[in-house]
Symmetry: C2
Subunit: 129 residues, 2 copies
């Protein structure tokens, strides 16, 4: 990916990316902070935020937006979908094929460049329905 400004390799950024790639969830910035602090106890919140923005700009992580507050970050390329229970508010992973064709279809239809998509199902889980 294109870098607009020279980047220096720092332990902080390295470890943030490393941890983000390890985890299967999509942690919010404050959760990334909590995770990374286990390895760099005195890392600051702003360092985490700044590096998440740099990693996003450089294409190393995806920035997902899913709440009123808080972005979530995805260190993996492989996509999967989510199911949100309207009652108990839990979030479940949905296994199964990701519709990559949709991206091409939307690209053709709109003449936009589609990078990825997300799909969220809403309803009631086994215990709540």
């Amino acid at each position: 990916m294109r870098k607009e400004i020279l980047r220096r390799n720092t332990r902080q950024r390295e470890i943030i990316l490393e941890e983000l790639r390890k985890v299967k969830s999509h942690p919010a910035a404050n959760e990334v902070f909590r995770i990374v602090r286990r390895r760099i106890p005195n890392i600051s919140f702003s360092t985490v935020y700044r590096n998440l923005n740099l990693l996003r700009d450089d294409g190393y992580v995806l920035e997902l937006t899913c709440g009123k507050y808080s972005c979530r970050y995805d260190g993996t390329v492989s996509n999967h979908y989510h199911f949100y229970c309207l009652k108990c508010k839990r979030v479940f992973d949905i296994e199964g094929p990701v519709l990559k064709d949709m991206d091409k279809g939307v690209s053709k239809k709109t003449n936009f460049k589609v990078i990825y998509h997300r799909m969220d199902f809403y309803g009631y889980c086994k215990g709540c329905k």
Copy 2:
């Protein structure tokens, strides 16, 4: 849609919904505030926020999450997808068939009750790519 608590009709909520249905863009809460204030000059910010939440709970508007700050609101509830430009942050409606079959597929696979889904495409719009 189901209302959990009795709602009273107020001029503020009425006008917020009215304006939201007029506009083709997907305004953030502060933009809704700006628009509505033209008709109710002394309306407060918190009234706008509270009513956007109520209208969302009652199914009258869609709450789109698309930035670090700020949700955006859509006065058209009928099913359609959205495209988010990663650069200019604008939101576009995607016309075209909604994949109702997916709901059934996920229902079968998970044994959850799927009510609806949303699909969000991310990338760069015509002017930004």
